[in-house]
């Protein structure tokens, strides 16, 4: 299983901070599509994705126990 985290506005849109999904073996891109469809979101083009606290590209394949975070445009500082 893979842990998936949402933050800020995306967390409010999804209605969850954290979900656990059976998506090991899938790519980030595939997970994005799944999330978009499941939660009826608009496009996620500007959402960055981190796996185990590091930014990754769309083609990375997920492993069991990974933690994926969807990172909407940041606004700290």
């Amino acid at each position: 299983m893979v842990n998936v985290l949402f933050f800020a506005g995306l967390q409010e849109a999804v209605g969850e901070h954290r979900v656990t999904l059976d998506v090991a073996g899938k790519t980030i891109d595939e997970l994005k599509t799944l999330i978009k469809d499941t939660y009826s979101l608009g496009h996620l083009d500007h959402v960055m994705v981190a796996v185990n606290e590091e930014y990754v590209g769309e083609n990375i394949i997920l492993n069991e126990q990974d933690t994926v975070a969807f990172i909407p445009p940041v606004s700290g500082g």
Binding site: F7, A8, G9, A13, H46, A50, A69, S75, G76, G77
Partner: protein
């Protein structure tokens, strides 16, 4: 080194940040603070709420400190970012950098705050009298199609 870079829910005490970079061999310490601004584009903020992906945010702050060492050599950096509810004039972020020569301290501080706004997973929610909004989501709710927020949208300089 990691304990120079942290997220806190408490008010920021500048001395805590400064102490971490004070060294007998350096003569310049620059401290930048981003504070909560009341007016952005003429709209009055009541208060802000900051959220962070804490473990990753602390890692990314430490990465910025490492990038500064690579770019400016003998520079020590400490950064703290506050989360939770912040009122007007509260310090949201403090960056302290000590360098042997002062020009590097200014350049590295400017670099640090730019990078924070690019790569550190921290988000700000504006609370106005007539509503709220997560910044970074200016144009369409739930679509985030603006990418990196503009200078104006970022609210503190």
């Amino acid at each position: 080194m990691e304990h120079n870079f942290w997220i806190t829910e408490e008010p920021i005490a500048l001395n805590d940040v400064i102490e971490k970079v004070t060294r007998r061999e350096v003569g310049a310490i620059n401290i930048f603070t981003g504070t909560v601004r009341e007016l952005t584009d003429g709209k009055r903020t009541l208060f802000l709420e900051y959220d962070a992906y804490k473990p990753m945010a602390e890692k990314k702050l430490a990465q910025i400190g490492q990038e500064i060492k690579e770019k400016w050599g003998d520079a020590e950096t400490a950064i703290v970012h506050r989360v939770g509810r912040l009122d007007i004039s509260d310090v949201a972020v403090a960056i302290a950098i000590s360098t042997p020569h002062r020009k590097a301290a200014f350049a590295a501080s400017s670099y640090a705050i730019d990078r924070i706004k690019e790569i550190v997973p921290i988000w700000k929610k504006e609370h106005w009298s007539d509503g709220t909004q997560w910044i970074g989501d200016q144009k369409e709710r739930h679509s985030y199609d603006k990418g990196i927020p503009t200078e104006e949208a970022m609210g503190n300089g």
